[in-house]
């Protein structure tokens, strides 16, 4: 006799796992916040809990450096992983990712162009440049990949991403060549994929731009689910695919553009997090999207805390760390796909 899971009384059987998973991730994120808040060469220490009041210097370091940095790490991580999940849904392909598809390097090139050729200095100008760069690449990649069937689209996309990454790298090199010393400093400070210059203006910028993009992405969940049936069937089920694509592309370009403008290129987060979570939670975007956002925030917070403390008082660029994590995972993924 075959035993079956009894049907449950609540309307959708996915619901308890959904809230449970999200609550678990939220708790873990809280833990990572506490860990991040209390670790570092200066600032608040866990001894605060024992009643030892921090010195004014420690307090100032914590308020002016640590707190905006924690905020930024959470927001950037959530955005990169959330947009990775959404792009994978949009391209119906588990290998889509903002950095792999060249979105991040496009945004990076736009920021570099803005700094060097237009002599821009302000942070918010960088935001705009990053957004426009990401948007341009997004539209290009989408034109190339979306009209082709499955496997062919995958190769086209990956090759396009490769080409864009290479091109952006070459142009970036050229720009470094013509940049002044001051601009060069600004570029290299920004370009390594680090949260080390996160101060309040950056955190406020992120707070203004990223949560709306995240909310916007969350609202695409149902549409992304339907899209997995193919465009024809999805249309039959009431989906306006063009509106969905527009929404995902705009939100992703805005979010990723701002992330790159703030923190440089942080690789593989958008690939790694949704992919792992999908194996665990299944492909439904109503759960996957929020879970990826929480997971991305969690991972980047932990990675950034490690980056700050491993070689303290020196600091490893966090982009380096995520690439060290994500690179091998990606290779393993490719090996497994072949098998």
């Amino acid at each position: 006799m075959i035993l079956r899971r009894p049907s449950l009384p609540w309307p959708s059987p996915a619901w308890p796992t959904r809230s449970g998973t999200l609550a678990g991730l939220l708790l873990a994120l809280l833990g990572a916040w506490l860990l991040g808040a209390f670790s570092g060469s200066l600032g608040l220490s866990p001894r605060l809990l024992l009643g030892e009041w921090p010195s004014p210097l420690d307090w100032q370091v914590w308020w002016q450096l640590r707190l905006p940095r924690l905020l930024l790490a959470s927001l950037v991580g959530a955005m990169l992983a959330g947009s990775g999940a959404a792009m994978q849904g949009l391209f119906r392909n588990p290998l889509a990712d903002p950095s792999l598809l060249g979105l991040a390097s496009g945004a990076g090139l736009a920021v570099a162009l803005w700094i060097v050729l237009l002599g821009g200095t302000g942070l918010y100008g960088q935001f705009l440049a990053g957004f426009l760069g990401a948007l341009a690449v997004c539209l290009l990649v989408f034109r190339l990949g979306a009209q082709r069937p499955g496997q062919e689209a995958l190769f086209t996309l990956l090759l396009a991403g490769l080409a864009i990454n290479t091109l952006a790298g070459a142009f970036g090199g050229l720009l470094a060549f013509v940049a002044s010393d001051e601009q060069l400093r600004q570029l290299s400070l920004w370009g390594m994929g680090s949260l080390s210059h996160a101060l309040w203006p950056a955190a406020i910028g992120a707070l203004v731009c990223i949560p709306p993009a995240l909310l916007w992405l969350l609202r695409t969940a149902r549409g992304l689910d339907l899209l997995q049936l193919g465009e024809l069937t999805a249309h039959g089920a009431g989906l306006d695919a063009r509106a969905l694509k527009r929404r995902v592309i705009l939100a992703t370009a805005l979010g990723v553009g701002v992330c790159v403008a703030l923190a440089g290129i942080i690789g593989f987060l958008g690939l790694l997090v949704p992919h792992c979570l999908r194996l665990w939670l299944g492909p439904g975007h109503r759960l996957l999207l929020p879970a990826a956002m929480l997971g991305g925030a969690l991972l980047l917070l932990v990675a950034d805390t490690l980056a700050r403390t491993l070689a303290s008082p020196a600091e490893i660029p966090v982009g380096l760390l995520t690439s060290l994590l994500g690179g091998p995972y990606f290779l393993w993924l490719l090996m497994r796909r072949r098998a």
Binding site: R4, T233, G236, A237
Partner: protein, 260 residues
């Protein structure tokens, strides 16, 4: 009721204008050679492609004027051999496109013999099982559980809808083909669903459909009852095939067999 007012396309893939109507309770088979425009016709009927001339109306209102969500509750589509991307659980997949509760999903799963596969993942399924999942999903979207159930209670709650299927039997064994075609026929004649179904198997079309449209080179060249449309001589010339005609069964159209 779905009405076509000389609806067609001039751009490729072109489809010469068709005027006809699809009544509730009718099972229509669309047949024709490869590339005849059968799938194109389904995109027209579902509203995915908007006709360049004429119009397609459901209950007197053009498909383009319907609010997408409202239309989705009245019209569902099973496309040709599309494997959904990612590894869905069967139950999740069947619930896509509707806010169906567990009961409705269960009923639709049962209608397609999928109950035992409900917790399985899509990559573990055979082609035929995956195809049945997609049919179950379309039924679920139309709230057709009330239609497949044994009781009559839901019959007046759910207005009859339109179900479009593109070669739903292509991956099914003969037992499953029979069960699916019987289900479709029952949905049509007992519960008033209008069903248009692209079929490659002419005998299946002749045996189960109320009406047949024969397409060739982007035109509809015959429409009528199976007996009227599916004559061996006509089909032989259109499909460029040599056919033997076996005696018809129980008043149906002749059974067609490929000549050796």
């Amino acid at each position: 009721m779905l009405t076509l007012f000389s609806a067609g396309f001039t751009t490729t893939p072109a489809l010469a204008p068709i005027s006809d109507r699809l009544m509730p309770g009718e099972l229509l088979a669309i047949v024709g050679p490869n590339g005849a425009g059968k799938s194109t016709l389904l995109t027209l009927l579902s509203g995915f492609r908007v006709p360049e001339q004429g119009s397609v109306c459901l209950d007197g209102m053009p498909l383009t004027a319907w609010e997408p969500q409202a239309l989705a509750r009245r019209r569902a589509l099973v496309a040709q051999q599309v494997r959904p991307s990612f590894d869905w659980e069967v139950r999740e997949l069947v619930a896509l496109g509707s806010d169906a509760g567990a009961e409705r999903v269960d009923a639709c799963l049962a209608a397609l013999d999928l109950t035992l596969l409900a917790e399985r993942r899509l990559t573990g399924l055979s082609g035929g099982e995956a195809q049945r999942c997609l049919v179950a999903r379309a039924l679920c979207q139309l709230a057709a559980d009330q239609l497949v159930g044994e009781t009559d209670t839901g019959a007046d709650q759910a207005p009859p809808g339109l179900l479009l299927l593109d070669e739903p039997t292509s991956a099914l064994d003969i037992g499953q083909q029979q069960r699916l075609m019987r289900l479709l026929r029952r949905l049509a004649s007992e519960r008033g669903l209008a069903i248009a179904c692209v079929l490659h198997d002419l005998n299946l079309a002749g045996r189960f459909a109320h009406r047949v449209w024969l397409l060739d080179k982007g035109r509809r060249i015959a429409a009528g009852t199976p007996e009227e449309v599916l004559s061996a001589a006509r089909l032989a010339s259109i499909f460029e095939a040599e056919l033997d005609e076996a005696p018809s069964l129980a008043g149906g159209p002749p059974t067609l067999v490929l000549a050796r």
